[in-house]
Symmetry: D2
Amino acid sequence: MPASLGRVLLAYSGGLDTSCILAWLIEQGYEVYAFMADVGQEEDFVAAEKKALKVGAKKFFLEDLKREFVTELIYPAVQANCIYENVYLLGTSLARPVIARGMIAVADREGCNYVSHGCTGKGNDQVRFELAFYGLKPDIKVIAPWRLPEFYNRFPGRQALLEYAAKSQIPVVQTASKPWSTDENLFHISYEAGILEDPNVTPPTDMWKLTTAPEEAPETPERITIEFTAGLPTKVTVPATGKTYTDAVDIFLALNALGRTHGIGRIDIVENRFIGVKSRGCYESPGASILRAAHVDLEGLTLDRNVRALRDQFVTIELSRMLYNGHFFTPEREFIVSAIPASQRTVNGLVRLKLYKGNVVVEGRESSEGLYDERQSSMDEMGGFEPTDTSGFIQIESIRIKKWAQANIRRGQSGVTPKDVYGTRV
Amino acid sequence: MPASLGRVLLAYSGGLDTSCILAWLIEQGYEVYAFMADVGQEEDFVAAEKKALKVGAKKFFLEDLKREFVTELIYPAVQANCIYENVYLLGTSLARPVIARGMIAVADREGCNYVSHGCTGKGNDQVRFELAFYGLKPDIKVIAPWRLPEFYNRFPGRQALLEYAAKSQIPVVQTASKPWSTDENLFHISYEAGILEDPNVTPPTDMWKLTTAPEEAPETPERITIEFTAGLPTKVTVPATGKTYTDAVDIFLALNALGRTHGIGRIDIVENRFIGVKSRGCYESPGASILRAAHVDLEGLTLDRNVRALRDQFVTIELSRMLYNGHFFTPEREFIVSAIPASQRTVNGLVRLKLYKGNVVVEGRESSEGLYDERQSSMDEMGGFEPTDTSGFIQIESIRIKKWAQANIRRGQSGVTPKDVYGTRV
Amino acid sequence: MPASLGRVLLAYSGGLDTSCILAWLIEQGYEVYAFMADVGQEEDFVAAEKKALKVGAKKFFLEDLKREFVTELIYPAVQANCIYENVYLLGTSLARPVIARGMIAVADREGCNYVSHGCTGKGNDQVRFELAFYGLKPDIKVIAPWRLPEFYNRFPGRQALLEYAAKSQIPVVQTASKPWSTDENLFHISYEAGILEDPNVTPPTDMWKLTTAPEEAPETPERITIEFTAGLPTKVTVPATGKTYTDAVDIFLALNALGRTHGIGRIDIVENRFIGVKSRGCYESPGASILRAAHVDLEGLTLDRNVRALRDQFVTIELSRMLYNGHFFTPEREFIVSAIPASQRTVNGLVRLKLYKGNVVVEGRESSEGLYDERQSSMDEMGGFEPTDTSGFIQIESIRIKKWAQANIRRGQSGVTPKDVYGTRV
Amino acid sequence: MPASLGRVLLAYSGGLDTSCILAWLIEQGYEVYAFMADVGQEEDFVAAEKKALKVGAKKFFLEDLKREFVTELIYPAVQANCIYENVYLLGTSLARPVIARGMIAVADREGCNYVSHGCTGKGNDQVRFELAFYGLKPDIKVIAPWRLPEFYNRFPGRQALLEYAAKSQIPVVQTASKPWSTDENLFHISYEAGILEDPNVTPPTDMWKLTTAPEEAPETPERITIEFTAGLPTKVTVPATGKTYTDAVDIFLALNALGRTHGIGRIDIVENRFIGVKSRGCYESPGASILRAAHVDLEGLTLDRNVRALRDQFVTIELSRMLYNGHFFTPEREFIVSAIPASQRTVNGLVRLKLYKGNVVVEGRESSEGLYDERQSSMDEMGGFEPTDTSGFIQIESIRIKKWAQANIRRGQSGVTPKDVYGTRV
């Protein structure tokens, strides 16, 4: 083989696609290093390493990114109640930046001029990976074979890949292929493509992997308590087992196990990809769903109304969109995230939850922050409150509304009626 | 009695408070007409009328506002996915404008100079009622006894009201008083005050009135289908009974019955009242919860991404706040609502749901709008898509990100590192 | 020549670039029709037609789009106070949709399979044109020669174009080329590129074409009056000449003439193009600058505070961005624009202005809408206002602020001080 | 006199109103300390002290707050481009928090149980002062005489105050009273009330105090340069005098002097007060107007597009509203302000300005941040840019737009035409 075209760090999964890409890159004249990130997915990393080296990778790197995934990506998203299009908790989106950062760190250290991945040309992940690469190392060169005509025209379908694998002595595991694709990490698993592309097909019950079906979940509810400090979960107590969890990763894994048992966190949606294509996806996010419910609830008790409203409108929505679209290593993400700490300073306290057959039920919450004042809130006592103040408040609040109403009435006298504005009765 | 101070239309509930207010207003020298709105609450209107007239009301008006409540208030809120502080579906807020409008219509027709209500001085409803009154009839005069020192000092607690009732020959039903207050209409029921004022007290199981507990709900899931036209539910099909519903009110009532059976729509939150006091409330909104899940889902299939994003950030959040704060008959509500139709033009299709023990599970959806394109979305075929286009897209999207990254790197060379911006690995 | 590859409608300017493109398209085997839009630019349309036909266009179409440019594009932008990045009034952005719509109408009528334009590959206009084409006729095919390697590699600079023109018998006017590019229409003229690419170069005084320099403008101020109906200018009165203008286009042209005389509407900025590149542009928008100042002022007198605030944050900013990025024929533009009428219903009245050496000075305004109430506003009389109401208002407004302050004070006692939050003095 | 009702710290101005309030508070039985803040207004502080003590104040405190006004209030507002309702630069709003903080610091130190001020019951300043007091010291008691019936009924007009002054031996300066009120500090002066209450009255030329009329300003333009570091002005160079300014306060004062000379920063508006009343105000902000123009311009060169867009929509608008409404010492202000530094990290560079008869003209700007790239921006060279990338970008951007257009066309075939959506031509 002639002199190498350069060294490529390939995001390797151990599957058919990236194994063929590995062989193909070598065939093109690149030297290839394989990279795997452990972000909590169920995977035989030893077998994957063996396979990568067998196919021809010069080196293999496995990076354990679970802790930074939880603490640097997941927890800020919990603090900001991130959610995309009202439903999706962003499990795949959150993993991409740590994986990309892990790759760039290895590429830098190992002198790789290129990075490569096996993402398709229609999805979000290609964008998330590549914008992250460029945001960290703007001069990195990216090889995305599924967008290169010389690759995708040569491998128009699975059969062509299998033939290439056979020819290239790539071992292919003879498992029955699932009629959908998945992406898994410790936050969630996603399902898309295949039979799911018809948005009216109900996912088969055996598709769901991370959670028990609500119908199969225990008949007996389970109670747990989650404590938060500055909006972050710092202690989970599970009375049934007598266990408590305080380490950031342990907390997340414990909540995952609880959610899995009780059938919590399944969703099925049609979402809008960054490239503008609508796409159907199913997701399981057991622990994250519990955590979100608890955090949102505690904010009711501990977060100022106006801060919450501004945060919901600007940080939650904008940050969720940035995460979904792969705009993590960007100035706008840095900007928006810089406002989170001031919004979470008072989010301290605990939430008591009941988990039961898909439901996360808040049963109570407490905090010593003092923004909730039982006496002031009470309908049974004055609590230092002067009811006459509210009269003044309402009068002042009504000033501009009265002016508007008067203008409507005047206008009504000349043809346009308030009914046009306000409906049937007026 | 001397010449009347004027005629008052009193929002009458039939309960102890408004009966005492009725008697007290007469005692002050007003002529009082009693007003009740039927917004779907469980109520003995005949008994209430009898009681009002017995206490001294000169006239009694019962207005059936259920249809306008559903069509003019609830359905626009469904179209806009309204929700307050991520959780509350605004059941009480939505009823207030139709009740206030009904009262103003009667007050106008019957020559009442005053309107009066029995809302407390700490709550939201006083504001919602009065701003609505002023927004419709800016010169109306409002008597809010619970904010008048001569009233609230005279009646510092329930015992004083009972004594006044006895003295004024107001019949008092000797039911055991519940340790909380409720507000009910066909959208929901709310519970607050009393034992609920401790936010860490779990509501007793016998408090919940409109829904079966998930634990007690049927073991067998039920499937239904909801069809939408321009974002409004136009047909509900319930295979188990073979029934379909197409009338706006019937649809809502049918969904309520389904939600009730399957334990859907309970929430328990600490919310922020308009006056700035935090307050704990529990709510049951069975039908509305089903409807919201279905509408949000169908928008995934049928609504353009950018319209949805703008609508979520501006219409949903702003309109929800306006409704909560009683800003219905205002120019800003008129303004925001005027954008809803353009957002719902394509929201046509149906959603298939599974109802099971508190869960509303979307099992599929379809539409002929064509914004979802199975071939284009597919990972298995090109579908008219050129993967190379995405390369150009990513290159263009990365232009400004690369500039920023280069600036970070230059800055890193002079002291501040990208790590300060981007975390552990860089 | 073999059978035609198809019929192309080319956006023709009469200049060197589009003349060469015309010849090149014919050379490739297309049949070419030339299209010009009259959007108010200074242009010899007769000469351009003659030239197009001489170069080989089979037909030539000149469409007068001035009125629809003013009424359908400019005036809604005036109603919404559109402005991009605080400074730019969007003159070029506003013209593109009407031109694109005019082209698609001709292409449809004349059976053109293709449209083509001479925009460069780095600018905004290519995007604005093409997204408009696709939003109106999604199956139209676009030929953008400056993005085709076979074109841009063949014509790497002006010299290559001149040589091709000579060879193709394209007449070239021997005017000294200006060291910048311009785009002109009746709203504005833009200057960019060439010597302006250094953002620290002051534009030469002889660059500015549409306005007198403030230094050269009359020493005597001029007064005018603009009347608005529903936010649209409906009458302009110019006392100095005794003239009034009421036709939509006449009004705009009259304000242009006034602005030109008095040196109004020059700007010089670095802006962010849609593709993410920063770019320096200079603009003159004389009439639009006057109109914007007047409209913003009248809204102070006639528009409800909350409507204005929501409109500023959502409609003004979002619509301006959509216009700039060429998202005119899109669902999100339709959505946002649908809210404008409800925001302008009360914007009726007149504004008196003084024009003087670059300044637009508001000297007074009046309206019969009645939202401004001199007695209520007055500091000299009560005007139906109860000062004690404000006490109640302030008490209620301070409830949550006091809770926060108490939490800060408690926190201060345990280490973190209010000073960390509130600065030096506390 | 009986035992004191307590000690009051009165915000004293030296004028008739607060002198009468001082005397009246003593008459009611309070011990009164007088407080004056030097925020740069033109004032005879020595005479004021003498007068306060003569009227009966037990102590007099003069606090020089100019530096903290500039550095803690004005400069963050410059960084965020704060502006209220498109026009007002918030000069009075910005001064209130430092004054209130100064008062609370003195009240704390001197053991005052009460604070008092002479603001009217209809304005913004009462709210700004009192919310600031409560945000710093939630248990402070406030005496606002102009909202107390026993005060305002006793002093229904200026004549009553003059009589009381005479009786109380309060010296009254016999200057002709101006037919408007003013509030002055080093940022600006405001004019309101009196003859200005008719919004159609042009302010008399002799009203304006801080600036030369543009008509009277020098015929010769003046050039200056402003340098910014992290969005803050750090150096002003004035070639005409050869002077440079680098101290924060000096910079502001120098710009004020320049603006004054060249007639810069006059505005005349109708604005919406926090209490919902519309009000006419005139303002002069010479230095602030120059600074804002320069800062906005430099952001064009140095701030990422997406950060700028988010900052404009959220921080600029929300912070401006908070400042106007007196929500400075609040959690939401803390929240929003916490995002400013991340938005200004790259705003480094200089702006060259021409000042001429009311105009602030940007003549050039430079920065070494590198976000502007002359080669990349250039229309004359590729600069590393691949025009074909833009083709991909446009294709991807058009995906959802084409889907929408197709839906419109289908709909058009069944009755609703694209013309309903897109106007005349389609």
